[in-house]
């Protein structure tokens, strides 16, 4: 093996794509030839550095949610069930599912699942909040111009949680305001977004106030309460028991109503722009 052979086989050698015999012949040559050794070492160093540079491009946090939201909207699998075997198997799966997983029946899933997935990504990534403030008016001012609808003032304290800030999210093809609360060392998020074009879970599990009913779900270790008021979806995601989160949702609903009656609410279904 000569220097020319090494030049031609450097990449395959670095990639481990040579046979044992070829690799051994190269190692033997490198042991004796300083020039080729430098060449191979340079290639190895440069390519490791290129990998590091390329690995720095990370997808935005909300990209998966955007994708998942569109899969859920029903673009995608279009195959129809054909034949008796398929129908039989599917029916068996359906019966099993009926008996064991009631939540499977909750239709549709996007509004239930996407906020939980977003919350989980946020918690696991340990990102900071977009804005940290305990002042409802300050938070409201921060959102001004960032979402294309008017938000209700966030309740500052609803036992057992307290307001700590907010985040601007994007999922289900729309901008979403997230009021962030703390419960001990854990986050609670109240997402608010336009109902337009979304299917809301029909199954009603709790009444929050007169005329306001919600559905309650457990997903990925979180509890999730979803309700709709005046054209907006409220989605409360927390690491709380079902009873606790329903109480919290009731407390929040009551405070929203209070601030509205007090004339302090700027909430409106009017869409700006």
């Amino acid at each position: 093996m000569n220097c020319r052979d090494i030049e031609e086989n450097t990449h395959a050698f670095l990639d481990g794509a040579l046979s044992d015999m070829q690799a051994e012949a190269i190692r033997h040559h490198l042991g004796a030839c300083a020039a080729c050794r430098r060449e191979v070492e340079l290639a190895r160093t440069l390519e490791s550095a290129v990998r590091v540079v390329v690995a720095e491009d990370k997808p935005p946090e909300n990209l998966w949610n955007r994708i998942a939201g569109n899969l859920a909207d029903g673009h995608g699998s279009k195959r129809r069930i054909r034949g008796s075997v398929w129908t039989g198997v599917a029916a068996a799966i359906a019966l099993l599912a009926l008996a064991t997983v009631q939540s499977f029946l909750a239709k549709p899933v996007a509004v239930v699942e996407v906020p939980v997935s977003e919350m989980r990504t946020f918690v696991e990534s340990r990102r900071p909040l977009d804005v940290a403030t305990t002042d409802p008016q300050q938070l409201l001012a921060w959102f001004d111009g960032k979402v294309d609808f008017r938000l209700p003032p966030p309740p500052s304290t609803v036992k057992p949680v307290r307001l700590v800030g907010g985040r601007l999210c994007y999922f289900l093809d729309r901008r979403v305001a997230s009021y962030m609360y703390r419960h001990g060392d854990r986050y609670v998020s109240l997402y608010i977004f336009s109902e337009s074009g979304l299917e809301i879970p029909e199954r009603v599990s709790a009444s929050l106030a007169q005329g306001v009913s919600a559905s309650v779900h457990r997903r990925e270790g979180f509890t999730h309460v979803v309700w709709v008021e005046e054209g907006f979806v409220y989605s409360l995601v927390a690491d709380l028991s079902t009873e606790e989160i329903v109480d919290l949702a009731r407390g929040m609903t009551a405070q929203f109503k209070e601030s509205k009656h007090a004339g302090g609410s700027r909430m409106s279904v009017q869409v700006l722009g």
Partner: protein
């Protein structure tokens, strides 16, 4: 009943799809970024890839993670070829201002400002060197470095024989070396290369 069965089947299919493909998102995005050149275009490219892949999922023959990655990458490369390269890319790529800014602060983990500046310079040079490769070489080089794909996976993704992938990779990597050896991240390595070891580039 039929409606329920269909709903369950759809849900099951979607969950399986997400389980199989979600972990591949970072690698696909990295490749998309180097292909499309702009963060927004990269996001759209990855998004469209997943939506198309989900639509074709029932017909796909996927046996493992490598298969799945090659399949998704193939959809992405085709989408890119169809849509983006027509009007967007040329060897002289104009990077977005955001990326220029990000590049200028890359290498942040290094405490030494001189080393940091050197590292940042290398990052810029490396990205420019990749962007400046001829299209057919660039695609295989991007897949190789951003997704750590094997020759066989790349061959499946770009729909050509393994031998062609190897030859394109060889040429692409030689060009990268030629353009980057003066920017080696470790100055000592660069200084070791004397004029006698200049590379002959196979075009």
């Amino acid at each position: 009943m039929a409606d329920l069965v269909e709903r369950l089947r759809k849900r099951w299919t979607r969950e399986k799809f997400e389980r199989q493909t979600r972990a591949l998102l970072p690698g696909l995005y990295r490749a998309a970024y180097r292909l499309a050149g702009q963060p927004a275009d990269a996001e759209d490219l990855v998004h469209d890839t997943y939506v198309k892949a989900f639509a074709a999922y029932d017909r796909a023959d996927i046996r493992g993670e490598a298969d799945c990655r090659a399949w998704l990458t193939r959809i992405m490369v085709n989408t890119y070829r169809d849509r983006y390269r027509r009007h967007q890319r040329s060897p002289e790529v104009q990077r977005s201002p955001e990326e220029a800014e990000v590049m200028s602060i890359e290498g942040a983990p290094l405490a030494d400002p001189a080393a940091r500046a050197e590292d940042s310079q290398f990052a810029r040079a490396a990205k420019e060197a990749i962007d400046g490769l001829p299209e057919d070489l660039r695609i295989v080089v991007v897949l190789f470095f951003s997704q750590e794909m094997s020759y066989r996976e790349i061959a499946e993704a770009v729909d050509c024989p393994v031998g062609t992938v190897m030859s394109r990779l060889y040429r692409g990597r030689r060009l990268l070396r030629e353009r980057l050896q003066d920017h080696a991240p470790d100055g000592k390595v660069a200084s070791k290369v004397d004029s006698n070891t200049k590379l002959k580039v196979v075009r």
